[in-house]
Amino acid sequence: MSGEHGELSTRTFVDVHAIQDELEQVRWGLHENGEFSEAAEHAAAEARASVLNLIAVVGSERQLTEVSHVLDALSVTNPSRTLILLAQHDRSAAKLEAEVSAQTRTESGHRVTTERVLLHAHGEVAAHLASLVDPLLIPDLPVVLWWPGRPDFDNPLFDDLCQLADRLVVDTDEGFETPDLQRLLEVARREHAGASIGDFNWARLIPWRHLAAQFFDMPGMLVHLAQIQGVAVYHGRDGSTAQARLLGGWIRGRMTTLGMEVPVELRLDDAHEHGVCRFLIYSRGQDGQARFSISHQPGGRLSAEVRVDEQDFVDRTVRLARRSAEELLAIELTLPGHDLLFEEALAASLR
């Protein structure tokens, strides 16, 4: 990716009107006194592409640095107004600082500018940052709330921001336990202003789901789908089991639409470090006995095998790309509306 990257302005404010003014200034590249320079005039004569408002909530300076890197990488492909909230309500001294900047990149002769506002709050005000966020959003564009790490569900900030957002993006791999998954489902199913949920972990499961679905596209295999007796999801020893639960929840939820209750077994595979490593679907009925298996192979691959009545069918190998946070977030930013399948899987994983 070629291009220049410039920070047009960085200053500290606490007044929302001052932030708005500064945003206009950096948006159009104006001088401090509001006059046009020739270059600024040229820049202003170009339309500005913005596709969304993006709010990222971080809890520490370290996390801020990581998140900033991800957002930098996204700015060319998803020009947006970005608000980063560094909310540290547990720090006692009350503090509220704002920093406005614009990143301009030129790629293949096209300028893309992303404005970024960093709101840094300590103490009580940290819980009420949403009141500052609302007036800073660009109208008519969707609002995506990205919460890296496990959100603090009981902080009023979480609820307030979810009310503003059209989509909440999390990564359930970040230690989400049963009550956390339950809270996510509540957000998605809220009657009024319910945000849709995006989950990096769900996106990581796409290749698994795809391969599993393809088994039953093979000629003569669909009959076995109606005879599924159970599934087993193997997962690694470290971290959250949310991914394995979601995969199990997915097939369980899907089979419920056929009126079938499929038992899901989660099994620990000590040899594997992290995440889902094997997915087995067993079926038995008048059309025989079948086992469909997908396994994680070293070197970032998935292999798929089918065995029907002791006979092996063609197996194959596909890539399981390890997606970076930028890629996963980029996927989430292009998805519209509620992902009903995710909600179905989430609900089924909690049954």
């Binding site: 339309a47 492909t77 038992p263």
Partner: protein
């Protein structure tokens, strides 16, 4: 224990929510011309990338057919090398390639050899038996066009074209004939063995994301279609400009020229897409019916008046001195082959009557650009003092196909200050800045569509024949009056002066794309 469903399932419920509606059926693709350039550069890398992204079914197999002395192992090694060199995704994943190569085999035979087809039939049966491909076949003609009829004939005579169960499809590469007569003869030869529903004629332009985007732009946005007509549009310019010369294709190009190489297919496809009525749905025949209607509505063309041809002489392109066309390899020093065509077309229907469409394509132009530009009529009256309408550039909506695919709209705006001064500004949108997803190669999309049995993005018989009819009219008129002034534009310029005059006559100018 789960209670099994008793009524037979008709739908794969696991498929829901995944991007592809379904996976293609397991099939064997037979590539004729398997040792050629197209197979190495485009087809094999496309198949590998489809496999990589899980789009190919289990058991998918390929039989390469060519008359080159190669063992199966050598053939596989060549293909591995081709994928390594030409795949758009790098590095190549060896395990994934291996799973493609497992289903790859090679049959050596001349394309007219009856015994060879016997061996091919045996190999196909083996694939069905061992890999569960169920008689599903794609016959991909990646050979020189003179072999198309004999391959079709032998596929029919040997029974391969109809053998057993499963579907059979034929993919035919461009050029599809070299004039109307030869295109009709080829269609006839094909239809002696295959029905039109089985035939997939490739125009890789249609596989491009951005060409499909033109349809989305027009028919998924409510604000453009109401002004997409003669009331608001002054004229339309469609450009396919190339900065390269003919490279090493002199032998082919001498017999083709810009008219056959680009105008007859890519330019007319873009014209159809820009001018067509909204289809009722995106079914293959509905879309293609609308496209053919456009071609049928083209006003009879007065070649001497409305079509300009050109040939490049030596010049400078991109800071490099380049030879003229007649100095290129395998080109006659007195060649009258055109490397540039511009045409003024009119479409006789209610939407476009009296609205000219200016089409142009050429080699060795200053830059590479493919675009459709809609120039709107001026505002009827300007209420601002001391500003004349003619001082303002009209609104132009440009859909760029390549490079930097996107759209831009030129609008008038006030220059800040106490005086009312207006100027034109460009609102630019490029797709790359909104979607991170890497666009697949056109061949990946087209091969997948063929495997899925969706011919929407392939040219239909009547479409091809209509387009040739138009090209023939031009060719015939040119044949009666060979070009006397070639070369008539220098490499690195925007074509011959006569092309500028074509628009100036109407009080218009070519855009600089």
């Amino acid at each position: 224990m789960a209670q099994a469903v008793t009524t037979p399932l008709t739908q794969n419920v696991l498929r829901e929510g995944l991007i592809l509606p379904r996976t293609p059926d397991p099939a064997v693709m037979v590539i004729f011309g398997a040792s050629g350039d197209l197979t190495a550069r485009k087809l094999m890398p496309a198949l590998y990338n489809l496999a990589l992204n899980r789009y190919l079914p289990s058991g998918f197999s390929v039989i390469g057919v060519a008359d080159t002395a190669l063992s199966e192992a050598e053939y596989k090694a060549n293909m591995a090398e081709a994928v390594r060199k030409f795949s758009r995704t790098q590095p190549v994943d060896h395990a994934v390639w291996q799973s493609v190569a497992d289903g790859l085999s090679y049959v050596r035979m001349p394309f007219d050899d009856a015994d060879g087809y016997g061996r091919l039939a045996a190999e196909l049966e083996r694939m069905d038996r061992e890999r569960g491909t169920n008689g599903n076949r794609v016959f991909y003609f990646a050979t020189a066009p003179q072999f198309f009829p004999v391959i079709v004939e032998r596929l029919g005579a040997s029974g391969i074209a109809r053998a057993g169960q499963g579907w059979k499809r034929v993919v035919i590469e461009k050029p599809f004939g070299h004039d109307l007569k030869s295109a009709q003869a080829l269609n006839q030869a094909i239809h002696a063995v295959f029905t039109e529903q089985q035939v997939y004629r490739i125009d890789h332009y249609l596989g491009k994301e951005t060409v499909q985007n033109v349809l989305v732009f027009r028919f998924a946005n409510g604000i453009f279609e109401p002004i997409w007509n003669r009331r608001y549009v002054d004229h339309i310019q469609i450009t396919v400009a190339e900065d390269i010369g003919i490279e090493r294709r002199g032998k082919y190009y001498e017999t083709a020229g810009a008219l056959r190489d680009i105008f007859q297919n890519h330019l007319l496809q873009l014209l159809s897409i820009a001018a067509m009525e909204a289809p009722a749905n995106f079914d293959a025949d509905t879309v293609r019916d609308e496209k053919v209607k456009v071609l049928k509505s083209i006003h009879p063309i007065e070649v001497a008046k409305d079509v300009i041809r050109g040939q490049y002489g030596p010049g400078w392109v991109g800071g490099q001195q380049v030879p003229g066309y007649r100095q290129e390899q395998n080109v006659s020093p007195a060649s009258t082959t055109e490397t540039y065509v511009a045409a003024r077309l009119r479409i006789d229907n209610w939407r476009w009557a009296e609205t000219p469409f200016y089409l142009r394509t050429g080699k060795r132009l200053p830059s590479r650009a493919s675009e459709i530009a809609i120039q709107f009529k001026n505002a009827p009256h300007l209420p601002f003092a001391r500003t004349a309408i003619q001082d303002l550039a009209p609104n132009v909506l440009v859909m760029r196909i390549q490079p930097h695919e996107g759209a831009s709209l030129k609008i008038a705006a006030k220059i800040p200050g106490p005086v009312m001064r207006l100027r034109t500004v460009n609102m630019d949108f490029f797709y790359g800045s909104s979607f991170l997803i890497e666009s697949p190669d056109a061949y990946e999309r087209l091969v997948l569509d063929c495997l899925l049995g969706d011919p929407t993005l392939f040219a239909r018989e009547d479409e091809v024949e209509r387009a040739w009819g138009l090209a023939d009219t031009i060719e015939k008129s040119w044949g009666m009056q060979p070009a006397a002034d070639f070369p008539n534009y220098a490499a690195g310029t925007w074509g011959p002066e006569a092309a500028d005059a074509l628009l100036e006559r109407d009080g218009r100018r070519w855009r600089r794309p």
